[in-house]
């Protein structure tokens, strides 16, 4: 009995880890168990999402922690490290193992390892409806008896079987509380007499340090040492008598390897699968050959060796078409809403600093960005749909050969596509890659997948300077981004990240109908990350940019105005008074801007950008893009004083840009290119830091900046030579 469990039971709050294989329906079961009571956080030190939620029943709180899906406690990917460390270091009161009933053998393999942890385990035979439809009949009572582990059938997507599951949890808690002694598993797999005879002395040696034995389950550690698990050996170092335990474990390993003529870790796996076979023989009846017909019929086309890649490209194309054609409507509504808002405020408030801050700063900055939220929501919705259906592993199948040629991995494809939406979840999604080198390369090239925030910049500039070919120019920028990501991963893999190719071992789940609630939950999570950014970083930077463009106040001297008026009348004979006034107003605004803090900064940094053809305004806008790329648009809106209409779709900002003599189609294109390649926004940089650390962050920033600057410079110089 663990002290934590006793405490938890007395408090009336149980901490329950929801664990299991990927694709076992863990998340839908979690949603069904917790309803709307969710909290999303991160595991310490990594950006793996940690979902927590509670359910109250009969005066007891069940607090569920949704662990990442894993195949084995011998950790292979970061997700698996996180799940293992959580179970070992945080010691939940109980584990609910979510098992895919249609795929019981491999799911039980993990279950056996949970049983060795000395934490009570309850099994949820999930997707039991699907299993029955496939002709797989599971006798859960017989299985419970054979494995010595309470199990019940559930259907997470329909929320059925939950009460029975919680009854089992209660019963398991009572049983555990009535037992005496430290957290030794009541029942777990036997590895055969010969191996058990060698595990026993190791367990005893581990138990000889009682403090250590309280922290780590002795049975689990003894077996993991036999499996030569590096992490188990690391943990053993804290043992008082580590050398003796290690000696025993190594001797036992050597004996097993001599005796079985194979690696000890393989022998352990074989024993587990043998044990599962025995258990299944008594409790699982397969009425007929498992039916793969629906999935197989679809895969005949989708995974056809010649069609798979073209279909993948088609899916991507459809993804963007749908996003932009559906997204255009809500985007237009939001734009008119913000336009109406700024007009209303303009007329309702007295002229002054406050109105300027509200209209030019906040609505101009945040409003222009918020109108892109519908696009992001739709893109995330479609991506989650593809993920939930099971297409993403097909995409990995289709692209692995191609990506592998460029030093990437088939599993890089999902993070990279996600990068079209937002780099932050994309960089996090790269954690499913097993090899650190693959993860680093994937994360480094994800920002080249032009994200949703860069889109407003591309749309604005393309529409302003290439009105007839705007769509093709934006597509070209996306294509350049993809090309750059492929070429740079190729170069990185040939130079600083050289190494053996990493294995490609990936489950191919059957197609499954997605549930609306699951989809909406996915979309909500990803959109919320984006909205938080818009609400905080972009709001703050909009105010900051408004401030540095408004202060210090400067009013143009009357003498200068007079001379401007004179020269205007000379160059524009016949111009009326209104034109003259408009000209003078624009000139004094521009002079004010030039003397503002932003103008000073722009003039200070402009030498660095002159080789790219940028004037000080463009330079300032680019610099503010560090906060978030959309801010470039809002900065331009503020710099060109078009206020709330300063969104990418707004005609007035487009006109203002076009009439600025510092701009040309060539410069607009160079600017798009520069924005595409230079380091991503602060949020993305923070994510890179969290995933890879400071050194790689520094590398990423300098790599992207140098590449972006020199490529843009090259295009500008060559373009100018040709006569752009």
């Amino acid at each position: 009995m663990s002290a934590e469990l006793k405490e938890g039971a007395e408090r009336g709050c149980l901490r329950i880890a929801l664990a299991g294989n990927p694709n076992a329906g863990k998340t839908s079961l979690f949603n069904a168990l917790t309803g709307a009571h969710h909290k999303v956080g991160n595991y310490p030190g990594v950006t793996v999402e940690k979902r927590e939620g509670s359910r109250f029943r009969r005066g007891r709180e069940y607090r569920f922690i949704d662990l990442p899906g894993i195949y084995s406690l011998t950790a292979y990917s970061i997700d698996e490290v996180v799940a293992r460390d959580f179970l070992l270091d945080e010691r939940p009161d109980l584990i609910i193992d979510v098992l895919d009933s249609t795929n019981l053998e491999r799911n039980l393999y993990l279950c056996l390892q949970f049983q060795e942890l000395g934490i009570p385990v309850v099994g949820a035979l999930n997707m039991s409806d699907e299993a029955e439809a496939k002709g797989i009949r599971i006798d859960e009572k017989a299985l419970t008896a054979v494995l010595g582990l309470p199990m019940t059938k559930t259907v997470g997507t329909k929320g059925s079987g939950l009460d029975a599951l919680l009854d089992l949890v209660d019963a398991a808690v009572e049983t555990e509380l009535s037992l005496a002694g430290p957290g030794r598993p009541t029942r777990s797999i036997r590895y055969g007499d010969e191996i058990e005879a060698r595990i026993e002395p190791i367990e005893e040696a581990i138990a000889s340090d009682p403090e250590f034995a309280l922290r780590f389950p002795t049975r689990w550690l003894a077996v993991k040492l036999l499996e030569k698990d590096a992490n188990a050996y690391e943990r053993l170092a804290a043992h008082r008598d580590a050398a003796r335990v290690e000696g025993l474990a190594k001797a036992a390993t050597a004996w097993i390897e001599r005796h079985h003529a194979k690696d000890a870790e393989i022998v352990v796996s074989e024993q587990r699968y043998g044990y599962i076979r025995g258990a299944a023989r008594e409790s699982v009846k397969i009425a007929r050959r498992p039916d793969f017909s629906v999935t197989e019929a679809i895969d005949k086309v989708i995974m056809n060796r010649f069609l798979a890649l073209p279909i993948f490209v088609g899916v991507l194309w459809a993804l963007f078409q749908l996003t932009f054609s559906i997204g255009a409507y809500p985007q237009a509504w939001l734009e008119s809403l913000f336009g109406w808002l700024s007009l209303t405020l303009q007329s309702a408030l007295p002229q002054g600093l406050f109105r300027s801050l509200l209209v030019d700063g906040i609505i101009g900055g945040v409003g222009g960005v918020f109108s892109f939220v519908p696009l992001i929501v739709i893109l995330f919705f479609l991506l989650s749909l593809l993920e939930d259906i099971g297409y993403m592993s097909r995409a990995a199948f289709a692209t692995d050969k191609f990506l592998h040629a460029f030093g990437l991995h088939g599993q890089s494809i999902f993070p990279m596509i996600l990068g079209f939406g937002c780099s932050v979840p994309a960089i996090m999604a790269a954690r499913t890659l097993k090899s650190r080198r693959d993860r680093i390369v994937t994360i480094l090239v994800i920002p080249f997948m032009s994200c949703g925030a860069k889109l407003p910049v591309h749309v604005l500039l393309a529409a302003a300077f290439f009105p007839r070919h705007a769509a093709s120019v934006v597509m070209a920028i996306y294509a350049i981004g993809v090309l750059l990501s492929l070429v740079s991963s190729f170069v990185l893999k040939k130079t600083i990240l050289r190494g053996d190719p990493t294995p490609f071992v990936m489950e191919l789940p059957p197609y499954r109908a997605p549930t609306l609630s699951g989809l909406l939950w996915h979309v909500w999570e990803k959109t919320w990350q984006y909205m938080k950014k818009a609400g905080t970083v972009i709001l703050a930077s909009s105010i900051l940019i408004w401030a540095i463009t408004s202060f210090p106040k400067y009013s143009i001297p009357q003498a200068e105005l007079d001379s401007l008026a004179q020269s205007y009348q000379v160059s524009h004979p016949g111009a009326g008074k209104p034109q003259l006034e408009a000209y003078l107003k624009a000139s004094s605004a521009e002079a004010g801007l030039e003397h503002s803090a932003a103008g000073q900064i722009g003039k200070f940094i402009v030498p660095a950008f002159r080789p790219l053809g940028f004037d000080w305004k463009i330079s300032v806008a680019t610099i503010t893009g560090v906060a978030a790329k959309e801010v470039i648009v809002s900065t331009m809106g503020i710099l060109y004083r078009v206020g709330a209409e300063g969104s990418a779709e707004s005609a007035s900002l487009r006109q203002a840009l076009r009439s600025d003599s510092a701009f040309s189609p060539l410069i607009a294109f160079v600017l798009m290119l520069f924005v595409l390649i230079i380091p991503p926004c602060l949020a993305a940089l923070a994510t890179i830091k969290a995933e890879l650390g400071w050194a790689w962050l520094g590398f990423a920033i300098s790599f992207m900046f140098i590449l972006g600057w020199s490529l843009s410079m090259g295009v500008f110089q060559i373009g100018t030579l040709i006569g752009g």
Binding site: R106, I266, Y273, R305, G410, P503, V505
Partner: protein, 82 residues
């Protein structure tokens, strides 16, 4: 014989995994242990990833992994594949 030697649609029995420590262990964890029976479903373009059915589920393996799993072809299915 190894997994990548047999045609799509052929069944096999696993003899042993000859790959290095980490991948070898992962394949064993995923169910490729001695005696396990499986079937090659399809191979991708230019011997791209293999889709292999093992222990009632499907898994994708690159050729280098498929070539590290020693197997004995199951006779009846080898006949059927011809």
């Amino acid at each position: 014989m190894v997994v990548s030697d047999i045609k799509a649609g052929s069944a096999f029995r696993v003899l042993r995994v000859t790959l290095g420590k980490e991948v070898g262990k992962r394949l064993a964890d995923m169910g490729f242990t001695e005696g396990a029976e499986g079937e090659v479903i399809r191979a991708g373009f230019l011997r791209g990833p293999y889709q292999v059915r093992i222990r009632g589920y499907d898994i994708l393996l690159r050729r280098s992994e498929a070539a590290g799993i020693e197997i004995a072809p199951l006779p009846e299915n080898v006949g059927a594949a011809k």
